[in-house]
């Protein structure tokens, strides 16, 4: 008999700070810690979920706490990266009566939009956010291109919170899918090209 335990957690990285989107005490700042099993976020809330509807509630609840702001390009622009993690633990007792536990983890990462400041008209807080967003996106790109270069021995995971959290999901033994959205308008061709270039580089992981 196989038994499953499914847990969910949801965080965002806003201005290079990690926030728990499911905390009852509001979006709190959290720290990253290293353990021999990998990097983890200290005190991150996790919920045991039993049905798809439960999971959807957790996701919707967390979304309410996300940072969203209006720019000239999109009235509901995501201003943070979000990581929704689903942990599936299965335990099975084999014929010798031994208990086998397997743990699989699924990260769904919604990266904040890359943007040109001149087009979005960002100033003040929006501009500050954009600078951090672009910085962590370029670190992600850097990590990806270092991973694809066999001569490169140093991978700059530590340069941003995003790449640290995803460290074992990028280089380790994980199945990774990257979905890139592009707009069809000629007006956005420059951004479209940069998205396509970014995705092309990721292809070689």
């Amino acid at each position: 008999m196989k038994q499953y335990l499914v847990r969910a957690s949801y965080l965002e990285i806003y201005n290079e700070e990690i926030r728990d989107l499911l905390s009852k005490k509001g979006a709190q700042k959290l720290d990253l810690r290293d353990k021999d099993t990998g990097v983890y976020v200290k005190d991150l809330s996790t919920f045991v979920v039993k049905t798809p509807a439960d999971m959807m509630n957790v996701f919707t609840e967390g979304n309410l706490n996300r940072h969203v702001g209006a720019t000239n390009m999109n009235e509901q622009s995501s201003r943070s990266h979000s990581v929704f993690t689903i942990t599936v633990e299965s335990s099975e007792i084999d014929k010798d009566g031994e208990n086998h536990i397997r743990v699989g983890k699924l990260n769904i990462v919604d990266l904040a939009g890359s943007e040109r400041q001149s087009k979005t008209g960002a100033t003040g807080d929006r501009l500050k956010e954009a600078t951090k967003i672009n910085l962590s996106l370029s670190t992600l790109c850097h990590v990806i291109s270092s991973l694809t270069d066999p001569k490169c021995t140093y991978i700059p995971y530590r340069d941003s919170k995003l790449t640290r959290i995803l460290q074992d999901s990028l280089g380790g033994n994980t199945k990774t899918v990257m979905i890139s959205n592009v707009g069809p308008a000629d007006y956005n061709l420059d951004e479209t090209l940069s998205t396509l270039r970014y995705a092309s580089r990721a292809k070689h992981i």
């Binding site: 999109n74 009235e75 689903i86 699924l106 990774t176």
Partner: protein, 116 residues
């Protein structure tokens, strides 16, 4: 695995009337041709899969996220990234319209898949 997708939702349709001629997608071969005005030849990108505005959420999930979800249930790790310029429909791809069976995005489908 890397996929690219074009969706015509949200700001791509609202407000301005855009011209769409610089970008061509060939879903069969996974190629995208992007031609800047002034360039003689378009730049070509090839991905594992390419989805245009005729694509269905169901196929996008089935071909990209589903294999990752299955792996996770088997006890492996998986990561799905969504990336792109702001306003190109990332949120639509990820969440979609959760209550609509046709327009549901990757998240609600993945949730269901895990409990199957």
């Amino acid at each position: 695995m890397v996929s690219a997708l074009i969706q015509l939702f949200g700001s791509a349709l609202n407000g301005f009337f855009h011209q769409f001629s610089a970008l061509k997608m060939v879903t069969k071969t996974g190629e995208i041709f992007a031609q800047k005005s002034g360039d003689n030849v378009p730049k070509v990108f090839t991905f594992d899969s390419v989805y245009d505005w005729n694509s269905e959420q169901e196929n996008i999930f089935g071909e990209t996220a589903y294999p990752v979800c299955e792996n996770v249930i088997q006890g492996y790790n998986g990561t799905i990234f969504a990336y792109g310029q702001t306003g190109t429909g990332k949120t639509f791809t990820i969440s979609g319209v959760p209550k609509d069976p046709k327009l549901r995005g990757i998240m609600p489908r993945a949730f269901e898949n895990i409990f199957e």
